[in-house]
Amino acid sequence: MNWLAGLIRSLMLLIVLLCASNHSYAQQRFPKPEFKTEYTQPVPEHPAPRSPALEFLDLAILVLVMSLTAWVAIRRRSRYGILILTIFSLFYFGFYKQGCICSVGSIQNVALALADPTYRLPLVALLVFLLPLIFSLFFGRVFCAAACPLGAIQDLIIFKPINLPVWLRKSLSILPWTYLGLAVLFATTGTDFIICRYDPFIGIYRLNGKFIMILLGIAFLLMGLFVARPYCRFICPYGALLSLTSRFSKWHLSIYPTSCVQCKLCTTACPFEAIDFPDSEQTKPEPRTQTRRFLTFAALIPVLIAVGMFIGSLSHVFLSRANSTVYLAELLIAHPELRSDPLNLDIQTFLASGQTLETLTEDAATIREKFRIGAMILGGFLGLVIGLTALNQLIFRRKEDYQANRADCYSCARCLDYCPVDKTIAHG
């Protein structure tokens, strides 16, 4: 029988070796006892995660909230309705659902799905990414108005908004695009989800979180008392996408129900300075100088892209350090003495895993190559964004009335309350 026992043992060993990865010691040193007394082994319970069906329910509620917002903002023209919906979102998507998954963060999931063949994108994440964009193509930024929990908390806190000068607003509008580009770069290289990691409000909704992020959230809220929606306007990468899609919205909120009486009251209502003035208020440039400037700037854009690509390719070295593999590899190369530092968990775990520095550096080099290409594209993209934003300053559209700027307007409907044009006309 010895050979049989030997066979069984070797088979067991084989199974153990196959199942166990590098650092497992899967052998059972002490076999389970055979109890003589009546002993029943406890069966520990493993609480189930939130049901996937509920995720689809959330999705349905998101669609419902966005549809209602569109209806309230465009048809009902009621600030009150938007306020109610905002408060609902604050509690449902914010305090109840505690954030994840949100449209802002879903950018990264979609980017990762496009880049990483092993990642499977949950359908919910894809829809959460797509739906607000599609809605904005037809109804403007209704997602920002009432559905987004990050917007909701900032919108409700607006107290005494100050007017920011145009140059500041426009030049800071580059930041969301930069953030978007970085987020996509880090997501596609499998490095990090920076939008989620640096979300300032999620900690408030969870009543829990990293101390520094809670502080940041409070700082944003305090700033939000005076600068309306600071995160939405100057940071939010999804807001950048929506400001693009919303430009082409089919039915957008309109300040006046029938015609503008040019009372300028709406401009005092909007905390976001998202209302464009009619031409009558402004000095128009000479068409000829305008065309010349326009052409100069248009020619500048390719130069900016090229410069951006060059600088991007330069920057990939330090950008790639955000990746833990690259960071560890460089740390080991630059500071080999850290190998004997018992407190450096990453290095100690790496050393214990039995991997060689050779394979680690190969992995790191592969990731860095991705970064090189990605950072080049990012640089070029930023060059394009800077160029287009600057060029956009030279486009003068003919306007006769006060109008909501489709890119910047959040459809919060504050202006509608101020418009003196009889509302009954619209309903009539």
Binding site: A5, G6, L156, F211, T268, E281, T283, A334, P336, L394
Partner: protein
């Protein structure tokens, strides 16, 4: 209520809500900072008490203090958790109340503001805006350029070979190595063997002083073309000089589990003192075996207070000297945690004609003269080892060889025996192990053979270069390898007993899965392998095929390794009974003398004499 009083009321409520929120926020902040800097679960006072308790395990007051403090710490931890949770809710409630009141206040006070004055010269404004956009863009780009200028591309440098990622090695002592001639060990051995046969020295015939003078003479005579420095080149070369008088390695000759000693006693009795020549108390505990040079016997002991090397006169049992391994740079302030059955002094020492070398569970490695004066000492880095470091030392040709497999890395080190400098270091793909290296001559070259998970491997004893490796072991490897007739034998519990033909393409000859040791190493001679298991089985196998000849079971398990000497197998069980069998295919028991004390240590032999270390005493056993 008119508007004014309403505004007043709201503003007062607002102030209350604001103050409340602020106070809660401050309390939370205090709580957070307190827990952050004085984590009750990481209480220093508690750790100190537990440390004290370890060295003073009987103290009732310490137990009481620890329990009280532990309860307090846990209470503090959970209370602070509760406070943070409740505080967060209160803070949120306060903030919401404040925000709502703020809105009401604002709407009560609200006046429609002045409309925006549109910005004068539109074109001019836009040009300003444009400039700012470009400036912000430029700031981004310049920031990126500066960032990339200050970063060093280590990865690139590494791949181009400009950086190695290795700690810059201490100067390799090529010169000292070339000074020494490689001595043909086998020849030397044979010469001495023949000499021994002519005049077998025993304890009784050789006088105390005689040995000290004889030993060096024999060696010098054996090495004809000795270059300069008459004493120095002998260091590390005398692997088998006077094999029957000296016992320089753990597990005897080349560390292989065999000894050339003859006329060994088969009967003794510890309690009655029969055939016990002398018995001496060992000042500190340890599980290392004695090593012997001339008339001197060395062993080591350690506890949390200190680590010591002891030298006994092997003829009389007098403690000649003791030396503490202290004041070594790199020694940890508190000794690493070890289990009771390993301790801080499990590795066996090694000795050459000049010095004795000891390693401890703290990673301290020390070299002393035969008179106990320190020659050098260093710390190899505190081993991350959950039982305790236990791999014994060997040496070959001026190089002290240390197998240093920890939870962090698997390393084989070669140190200059004269000064402790690292000559070579081989990092191996190995998990932590507790086995000791052995020496074996394979294809005319001396190799160091190691066992660990997952591999049995052979290294060039001169350079440390890996020559061959077979991934065949698993688990926590304690048993060392054995060697006979060109075949390497290795075994571990939960793995197998395996015979390997070493070489560039090592070949597994056979494997056996039934009787497997946990700590005791195999011993092989005359085509027979002996395996002693922790659960008390002594098995004998055919070295050619792995077929089992016999097995005997005992009540006590085996920790110490079997030794083959004088045509017999000696193996000590944990209760202190030596089981002596004839080297034979059938179990012929020659005796089972008792020591009268627990022992887990492998015995040491010289001609006519066995040295045994019990838990407390060192025994010299010789037939009267």
């Amino acid at each position: 209520m008119d508007e004014k009083t309403r505004i007043k009321l709201v503003s007062q409520l607002m102030a209350v809500a604001g103050l409340f929120t602020l106070i809660v926020a401050l309390l939370l902040l205090l709580n957070y900072l307190h827990v952050r800097y004085h984590d009750p679960l990481e209480s220093v006072a508690l750790t100190q008490l537990v440390e004290q308790f370890k060295s003073n395990p009987e103290s009732e007051t310490l137990i009481r203090d620890i329990r009280n403090l532990d309860l307090l710490a846990r209470k503090a931890y959970f209370t602070s958790q509760w406070q943070i949770k409740t505080g967060a809710f209160l803070l949120l409630a306060g903030a919401i109340a404040f925000a709502v009141l703020l809105r009401i206040y604002h709407s009560l006070k609200a006046r429609i503001g002045e409309p925006l004055i549109s910005g004068g010269n539109l074109l001019l404004n836009r040009i300003v805006t444009q400039r700012w956009i470009l400036s912000i863009g430029a700031i981004l780009f310049i920031g990126a350029v500066i960032g990339s200028l200050v970063t060093v591309d280590y990865l690139d440098k590494y791949q181009k070979g400009e950086l190695t990622g290795e700690v810059v090695a201490e100067a390799v002592t090529e010169e000292t190595q070339s000074d020494v001639e490689v001595i043909d060990l086998i020849e030397q051995e044979e010469e001495i063997d023949s000499r021994n046969e002519v005049d077998p020295p025993t304890i009784d015939t050789i006088e105390h002083t005689n040995i000290e003078t004889v030993a060096p003479i024999v060696e010098v005579a054996d090495i004809p073309d000795q270059p300069t420095q008459p004493t120095e080149p002998l260091v590390g070369t005398a692997v088998s000089a006077l094999p029957a008088l000296n016992h320089v390695y753990f597990r005897g000759h080349l560390g292989q589990g065999i000894s050339k000693a003859k006329n060994l006693p088969e009967t003794w009795d510890g309690p009655s003192g029969r055939n016990i020549k002398w018995k001496a108390k060992i000042p500190k505990p340890g599980y290392n075996s004695p090593v012997i040079w001339g008339t001197k016997l060395f062993l080591a002991g350690a506890d949390a207070q200190g680590r010591w090397v002891f030298c006994f006169d092997r003829l009389t049992g007098d403690l000649l000297w003791q030396a503490e391994a202290n004041n070594i740079p790199g020694t940890p302030a508190t000794a690493p945690k070890t289990t009771n059955d390993t301790g801080l002094s499990a590795p066996t020492l090694t000795v050459d004609n000049q010095r004795v070398y000891a390693i401890f569970g703290t990673g301290d490695l020390i070299a002393l003269t035969h008179n106990g004066d320190r020659v050098w000492a260093k710390n190899l880095g505190v081993p991350d080892n959950h039982y305790g470091h236990s791999s014994s030392l060997i040496y070959f040709n001026q190089t002290l060889i240390v197998q240093y497999d920890t939870n962090k890395s698997g390393r084989l080190l070669g140190l200059n025996m004269a000064n402790g400098e690292t000559i070579w270091e081989t990092v191996r793909k190995s998990k932590i192990s507790w086995s000791s290296p052995i020496l074996a001559e394979i294809d005319g070259k001396m190799q160091v053979i190691t066992t660990s998970a997952p591999s049995v491997a052979g290294f060039d004893a001169q350079t440390g270069q890996e020559l061959w490796s077979v991934d065949v072991l698993s688990g926590e490897v304690g048993p060392s390898a054995a060697f006979s007739n060109g075949i390497v034998y290795a075994a571990n519990e939960y793995a197998s007993l395996v015979a390997i033909r070493p070489g560039p393409n090592p070949e597994i000859l056979w494997q056996q899965y039934d009787v497997l040791p946990e700590t005791a190493s195999p011993a092989v001679a005359q085509g027979l392998i002996f395996i002693a298991t922790t659960y008390g089985v002594l098995g004998c196998f055919d070295a050619k095929t792995g077929d089992q000849y016999w097995e005997e079971e005992f009540g006590q398990g085996f920790y110490g390794s079997p030794m083959i000497a004088d045509g017999k197998v000696y193996v000590m069980d944990r209760g202190g009974t030596m089981h002596i069998y004839k080297l034979d295919k059938t179990p012929v028991k020659l005796g089972s003398p008792v020591l009268g004390e627990k022992s887990v240590v492998t015995p040491a032999f010289t001609d006519g004499t066995i040295y045994l270390r019990g838990e407390q005493f060192l025994y010299c056993i010789a037939a009267n």
